[in-house]
C-alpha cells in the first residue's frame, strides 16, 4: 500500500530525513518509535504534504500513485489520513459542517453522490460512539474549547467518518490520561481491518499495549535503524533509546 | 523676535532670547515655525487636549538655582546632571569617574543626525520651539560594545513664576552598547511654569537602552514632551513613563523601528487628581519585519482629572511577522473624572499578530466589598486595589533602587503601598 524508498527531507536547509525506507501492506499496523528530534513528526508531515518541508530525495508510492506528486487534499482524497499531534482549532466552523464538507469532497473525487443529510447524521451518531465522543461536541466548532483528550478523540472520530486506507497517528497518545488512552485505542482497533493500514508514531510504548503493532520500527537521525516485532517496543521502553543508538553504531 | 512673523506662536516666544550655539539648526527651526499655529482640538492629534491654558500665557527664560537634594534618587549610584528651568547647573551635577560614556552639551550635537537619522520625523510647533530655543541638554554617547558603568540621571527642576524650560537631550547608543537613563522632572515653588522638552535617541544594532521617566511636578506646571527614538536592527528599547504631577501633561512618544529583530517595550502609569489633564500619545512605527513591540499603559483618574491615551501602532507594507501588543486600562475613581482612550492599529502587512485592548471602569465593587468585609476601610480597600491595578505596570521597572524610590513617592503622595 505504502512504499517509501530512500526518502530525504529537510526544513530550512536542515536535513531531517536521511534515507528512510518503509513498506506498509494492507491490514498491517506499524509503530514508529524514536527519540525526540529523530524525524517522526517530519515523516508524518511529509507524507501529508506539508509545504515547509523540502523533499531532497527518494520516492513514495501510495497504492500505485506517486504520493509526492499529489496535492495535500488529493492525498487525503486518495485515502491518506493524518491524526494531528496538535489538532487545529477553527473558530465558528462546526465539526459537523467541517466533516460533511470533507466527506462530500472525498465522495465527489470518487465519483459518488453527496451523502444525504439523514444518512450523514446517522453516521455521525454511530461513529461518535466509537470514541465515546459527546454528541454535543460534534456540533461545536472544530476543536475549539476542546480539552486535549477531546481533541485527540475528535481526530479518531474524523478518521472513523472518513474511512481512510492509510491512517497516520502522530503522537496521538500524548497528553492522554490512561482512560482516554484506552478509549482512543479502542476506537482505532475497531477501525482496523484487512483493507486498511495504520502507522502509529509514538515516543512511548504504552499506546502499543492497546494498539498491537505488527512491526515496530525505530527511527533515529532520520533513518529506520531497527525493525522488530511488538516486543521491541517493550525492550525500548526498558532500555531507552540510547541502547538503540549504541547498538546501531556498532552494527 | 523678527524671525517668526505675526502669529500666536511669535507672540508666545517674543521675549525669549536665542541661546548661543547651533545657529544653523535654530535658524531652520525658526523658519519652520513661520506661519505655524498652535493646534486646536479640531486637529485629530490634539482632539482631547486643549492647550489654550498654556498658549494664552507668556513665559520667560530664567536661569535659577536651588537645592536639588530632595530630588536625588536615594542609593542610586549614578551620574546626575541637573537642569533648573532648562539651564544646566554644573555645580549641582555629579559626573562619576571612570565611565566609558561621553557626556557633551547638546549644542555640540552633530547636525548630520538630523539629516541622517531623524530626517523623517514630523516636527510640531513645540518641538520646533524647543529646537530654536533649547537652553541646554545632554548629548550622551555610549560607545560601541560598551556598557555604561553607571546609570545616567537627568534631573530637571522648574521653579519661579511663568518660567519656561526648553531642554533637549540626545542619546546615541552605539552598536552593541548598553545603558540605563533616568529622566525625572520636578518643580518647587513653580507657578504656571512650562517644561518643553525634546528627547531623542538612536539605538544602534544590538544596543540596549532603557529609559525611566518620572513626571512629578506640582499641579501648577505644564509639561510638553516630544520624544523620538530610532531603532536599528536587533536593538532593544524600553521606556517606562510614570506621570503623577503637572496640571497639563502631554507626552508624545514616537518610536521608529527601522530594522528587523527589534524589541520595543513601552509602559506607562498616569495618576490624575484635581484638574490634571494627563495625555499620553504613543506611536510605534514598524518599518521592518520580525519585530516585537509591547505596550502597557494604565491610568487612575480621580477628582475632575482627565486621562488621555492614544496609542498608535503602524505595521508598514512588507513588515511581516510583527507581533504588536497594546493594552490600556483605566480606572475612574470619581464621578467627575474622564478618560479618553484611542488605541489604533494600522496594518499594511498580512503576516502579523497584533492586538490591542482597552478597558475603562471603576474598581471592582465586589472586591471592595470583600476587603471591607475583612475589616479594611473603604479607603484602604480602594488603595489596595488601585495599587494592584497599577502594580502590574510598575513590575516592568527592573531597577530595584529606582523602584524603591517610586514606591516611596507613591506612599508619600497617595498613601499607596506596593
Amino acid at each position: 500500500m505504502l512504499t517509501i524508498k530512500n526518502l530525504h527531507a529537510s526544513i530550512d536547509g536542515q536535513a531531517i530525513l536521511k534515507g528512510l525506507n518503509l513498506e506498509v501492506k494492507p491490514g498491517e499496523v506499524h509503530a514508529i518509535m524514536g527519540p525526540n528530534g529523530a524525524g517522526k513528526s517530519t515523516l508524518a508531515s511529509v507524507l501529508a504534504g506539508k509545504e515547509e518541508y523540502e523533499i531532497t530525495g527518494g520516492e513514495v508510492d501510495f497504492d500505485g500513485k506517486d504520493l509526492l506528486e499529489l496535492e495535500t487534499e488529493e492525498r487525503a482524497k486518495e485515502g491518506l489520513f493524518l491524526a494531528f499531534q496538535y489538532p487545529v482549532e477553527i473558530p465558528g466552523v462546526s465539526n459537523i459542517n467541517f466533516l460533511r464538507t470533507a466527506l462530500n469532497e472525498i465522495r465527489e473525487y470518487r465519483g459518488e453522490e453527496p451523502i444525504a443529510a439523514k444518512d450523514f447524521m446517522a453516521m455521525v451518531r454511530e461513529k461518535s460512539k466509537l470514541v465515546e465522543l459527546d454528541a454535543k461536541l460534534a456540533s461545536r466548532s472544530v476543536n475549539e474549547g476542546f480539552s486535549g483528550g477531546e481533541k485527540k478523540r475528535n481526530e479518531i472520530f474524523q478518521m472513523a467518518m472518513l474511512e481512510p486506507k492509510l491512517a497516520i497517528l502522530d503522537e496521538t497518545d500524548s497528553g492522554l490520561d490512561i482512560d482516554a488512552l484506552r478509549i482512543v485505542a479502542g476506537g482505532v482497533n475497531k477501525l482496523r481491518n484487512q483493507n486498511n493500514a495504520i502507522i502509529v508514531i509514538t515516543h512511548y510504548q504504552r499506546l502499543l499495549d492497546y494498539i498491537i503493532p505488527d512491526f515496530v520500527h525505530v527511527l533515529a537521525d532520520g533513518k529506520i535503524v531497527k525493525t522488530g516485532p511488538k516486543e521491541l517496543a517493550l525492550e525500548l521502553e526498558e532500555k531507552g533509546y540510547d541502547w538503540i543508538n549504541d547498538n546501531a553504531q556498532t552494527v | 523676535m523678527e524671525a517668526v512673523a505675526n502669529s500666536k506662536v511669535s507672540a508666545f516666544v517674543e521675549n525669549w532670547s536665542l541661546p548661543a550655539g547651533n545657529e544653523t539648526l535654530r535658524a531652520e527651526a525658526l523658519q519652520a515655525l513661520k506661519g505655524m499655529d498652535f493646534p486646536t482640538t479640531r486637529v485629530e492629534d490634539w482632539k482631547y487636549t486643549r492647550i489654550t491654558r498654556i498658549t494664552n500665557k507668556t513665559f520667560h527664560q530664567s536661569a535659577m538655582t536651588l537645592d536639588v537634594k530632595p530630588y536625588i534618587i536615594p542609593n542610586l549610584e549614578a551620574h546626575v546632571l541637573v537642569f533648573v528651568n532648562g539651564y544646566f547647573q554644573k555645580n549641582l551635577s555629579t559626573i562619576l569617574e571612570g565611565d566609558v560614556i561621553t557626556i557633551a552639551d547638546v549644542n555640540d550635537l552633530d547636525n548630520s543626525y538630523y539629516t541622517n537619522v531623524l530626517e523623517d520625523v514630523d516636527e510640531n510647533v513645540f518641538s520646533l520651539m524647543n529646537k530654536a530655543f533649547a537652553t541646554a541638554g545632554v548629548y550622551l554617547t555610549i560607545p560601541k560594545n560598551q556598557k555604561a558603568a553607571y546609570p545616567i540621571h537627568l534631573l530637571h527642576v522648574s521653579t519661579g513664576e511663568r518660567t519656561v524650560a526648553n531642554v533637549r537631550h540626545f542619546i546615541q547608543a552605539e552598536t552593541g552598547s548598553k545603558a540605563e537613563v533616568f529622566a525625572t522632572f520636578h518643580s518647587e515653588g513653580a507657578n504656571d511654569a512650562l517644561v518643553n522638552v525634546v528627547f531623542e535617541g538612536h539605538i544602534q544594532e544590538n544596543a540596549k537602552l532603557t529609559i525611566n521617566k518620572l513626571q512629578s511636578e506640582e499641579q501648577s506646571t505644564f509639561h510638553i514632551a516630544n520624544e523620538i527614538f530610532v531603532q536599528d536592527p536587533s536593538s532593544n528599547f524600553e521606556i517606562n513613563t510614570i506621570t503623577i504631577g503637572g496640571l497639563l501633561v502631554r507626552n508624545g512618544l514616537n518610536i521608529l523601528v527601522e530594522g528587523e529583530n527589534c524589541y520595543t517595550e513601552l509602559n506607562g502609569v498616569y495618576l490624575g487628581k484635581g484638574k490634571q489633564l494627563l495625555d499620553n500619545h504613543t506611536f510605534v512605527d514598524h518599518l521592518f519585519g520580525n519585530c516585537t513591540s509591547s505596550e502597557t499603559y494604565k491610568g487612575v483618574m480621580d477628582d475632575q482629572s482627565i486621562g488621555v491615551f492614544n496609542g498608535k501602532v503602524v505595521v508598514r507594507q512588507d513588515a511581516q511577522k510583527i507581533q504588536a501588543y497594546q493594552s490600556n486600562g483605566n480606572v475612574l475613581l470619581s464621578e467627575q473624572a474622564t478618560v479618553n482612550s484611542k488605541p489604533e492599529l494600522e496594518i499594511y502587512a498580512d503576516d502579523v499578530r497584533c492586538s490591542h485592548g482597552s478597558t475603562t471602569g471603576q474598581l471592582d465593587e465586589q472586591a471592595v466589598f470583600y476587603l471591607r468585609a475583612r475589616g479594611l476601610s473603604e479607603k484602604k480597600a480602594k488603595e489596595l486595589l488601585v495599587s494592584a491595578f497599577i502594580g502590574e505596570v510598575l513590575e516592568k521597572v527592573d531597577n530595584a533602587t529606582y523602584r524603591a524610590y517610586v514606591d516611596e513617592l507613591f506612599w508619600q503622595k497617595f498613601g499607596w503601598q506596593f
Binding site: E73, V88, V93 | L345, S355, S358, T360
Partner: protein, 481 residues
Amino acid sequence: MGYTEEELAKDLENSEYKFGFTTNIESDRAPNGINEDIIRFISAKKEEPEWLLEYRLNAYKAWRQMTEPEWAHIHYEKPQFEDICYYAAPKQTKKYESWDDVDPEMKETMKKLGISMEEQKRLTGTAVDFVMDSVSVATSFKAKLKELGIIFCSFSEAVQEHPELVKKYMGSVVPSKDNFYAALNSAVFTDGSFCYIPKGVRCPMELSTYFRINEGGTGQFERTLVVADEGSYVSYLEGCTAPMRDENQLHAAVVELIALDNAEIKYSTVQNWYPGDKNGKGGVYNFVTKRGICEKNAKISWTQVETGSAVTWKYPSCILKGDNSVGEFYSVAVTNNFQQADTGTKMIHLGKNTKSTIISKGISAGQSHNSYRGLVQIHANADNARNFSQCDSLLMTDRSGAHTFPYIECKNNSAKIEHEATTSKIGEDQIFYCLQRGISEEKAISLIVNGYCKEVLNQLPMEFAVEAQKLLEISLENSVG
C-alpha cells in the same frame, strides 16, 4: 503545491460581480447638476407639501456651506456634484396596486437580484419595498400589514398619506445639517421607505427594502425612516445592488430609526453595491448616515454584511437616550481588489444602565483597505453604562490593509468599557488541516471565513444569512480554476 498567497490573490482578482446588468426601462430624469431649481423640480415631481420643500432648501443652503469630510481612512476622487443626475425615475411611476401590475422587465430585474417577489411571498412571508434608482416601485403585503395598523410604504407615499408622522420624525435623529452627505441627502432625496409600527404591535414578518441604482450617472439618495412606537417590534432588512459601470456612482442615504419606550428595532443590511472592477475602476461611493435613537428600555440592533461599494463610509449608530436602552452593532465588512471601507459605529450612552455591544469582523483581500472606526461615548449621567467591543481583522493578502480606530470617551466612573481588537492573517495551519481532510483550498477558505464571521451572520434572519454567506463566497472565492 497546496495553498499559496499568490494563488489566492490571483483567484480573488477574478471574482466577478454577479449583479452587473442594467434594466432597460425608459427613465424620467432631471438635468444633471444641483441648484434650487432642481430641488424645486424634485419636490414638485413628488407633489410635496410646502414644509418639505422648505426643509430641502434649508438643507441645501447648509450643504453649500459645508466641505466634504476628509478624516476617514479612504482616498478617492471626489464626486463632481454638478455631473450627477439627482432625479431619475423609471418612467412608469404610476403606483402599483398589486404585484401583477409591475412591469415584467422590472420583475426580471428583481428576479436576477434573487428577490423574486412571488418566491419571497411564498417562502419567507417577507414584505418587500423595492427602490430602483430613486423611486419606490412596489410594496407587497400591504393589505396584510394594514390590518395590524402597520404602515410600510415608500417615503413619497408616506409624505402624502401620513405627513404628520413624517414631519414629526424626519430629521429628528439625523438633522439635515448633520454632515456633508446627510445635508446633501436632505436636499435632494427622492424616495425611500417608511415604516411605522403602532403601539404594542409585533410585526409578524420581516420588512424588506431592496435598493438598486440603475441609470448611468445618477446618484441614489434615499431616506429610510422607521418608527417603532411604544412596546412594538420590527425586523427590517435592506439589500443593495447596482449595475457595473465604469464611472463612480454616488449613493448617499440617510436612515433614521426611532425606537420609543420598550420598542425594539432590528435592522439588517446586506450591501452589495458594485465594488468596481479588479483594477479599481468604477464602483459605487457609499456615503451613508444611519442612526437610531432608543427611548426607555428600547433596543436597536444593527447588523450589516458589507461586501460591495468601491468606497464605503458608514457608521450605523445608536443614541441610547432612554434608561436601560440597548444598542448593538454586528458587522462583517469584506474588501477586495481596490475597495476601501471605513466603517464602524457610534454608541452614545446618555441614559442610565444603557448597554452596547459591538462585534466587528473585517476581511481584507487584494489591495484593499478596511478600517474599523468606532466611538463609544459615555456621558456624565449615564450611570452603570456598559460596553463591550470586539474588533477583529483578517488579512488575506500582503497588499491589503486592516486598520482599527476606536475612540473611547468616558465621563462616568460607574461605566464599564471593554474593547478588544486583533489583526491576523488567515491561518495556514487551519488551511492545511482542512486540506488534509480532503477539502479544497477554495472551500477551506470559505469555511474558515464563514466561521470567523459566524457571530455576526447568526444575527441575520435565516434567509438573509444564507444570502450573506453566498455573497461572502462570491466576494472572496468561487473563482478557483
